[in-house]
């Protein structure tokens, strides 16, 4: 049930912000500070999420095979690999390190 509440709230919220952009008169949200903040919010959220899902085990921070996978993804990104290849690199390296007992 909790999951459905979360899904419902996310669906409503995410649809509402998409629609607001199309409906409000141009210029309303175009103040430079608001634009800057809107551009930087995803940066903060994505960075925190990347770090947490790499190191978190419940409420503890751990170093495990995921770190090797994310390092592989970072290398793939530096080499300008396409999106799916980046994710595949992370998955394959993580599985490989785990299979070797890492």
């Amino acid at each position: 049930m909790n999951t459905w509440i979360a899904i419902g709230a996310t669906a409503l919220g995410c649809y509402a912000v998409k629609l607001i952009g199309l409906l409000v008169p141009a210029g309303t949200l175009e103040r430079p500070l608001v634009r800057r903040l809107a551009a930087l919010l995803p940066v903060a959220l994505l960075a925190a999420l990347t770090a947490q899902q790499t190191f978190a085990d419940g409420h503890r921070l751990v170093l495990d095979a995921r770190l090797a996978g994310i390092a592989a993804a970072a290398v793939a990104l530096v080499l300008r690999a396409p999106f799916l290849l980046v994710v595949a690199a992370a998955v394959i390296v993580t599985a490989g390190v785990r299979a070797m007992g890492g």
């Binding site: 509440i5 709230a9 669906a11 952009g21 930087l40 925190a48 947490q52 996978g69 990104l77 998955v91």
Partner: protein
Amino acid sequence: MTAAGSGVTVVQACVLSLLVFTGASQFALVGALAAGGNPLTAAAGAFFLGVRNAFYGLRLSQLLALPRAVRPFAAQWVIDETTAVALAQPTRRSARIGFTVTGLSLYLLWNLTTLLGALGAQAIGDTDAWGLDAAGPAVFLALLAPMLRTTTERAVAGLAVLLGLGLLPVLPAGAPVLVAALAAPAVLFLEGRRKGTPRDAAHDDHAEGEGR
């Protein structure tokens, strides 16, 4: 893809893709729920990631000039990829075609991938053994990387990582990410105090890709 093995069912994963249809928010929600987060805290993190779509909508609204009756239907397709394609088109007609074709094909592909991924993950059982728990952070990293253009973005990302990891042991699941979002206004505030000379202000506008 990361939905199975985190307490989200196949049906829930598919409903998410059908109704939310903005990848980063979906991954964030599933991740927060898997970590045992409160549903509304989890939804708040996903919502803040989706806020950028409102600004895409502003640009698209002027570019596509859609009739008001069409906008509620077009809204669901206002995402990173459709905006990028539409903005790259030379005329209004080709922008509309680009938006529609990209929106429709991604919507079908994304939902099909979700269904197959969720069924596949359910079939293989222990998703961690296959390294699928690394898919989520890899997706976030791939979305983040092209955004790290200037020192400001890197400072925000660095501070957010510190906040997100540092608060993880002490705050309830899902909350550290929301606090980490404060890195964005914090860095903007510090930057505003440190700068303010005309040259730097001009540089800021340039980095943003637009004058005022």
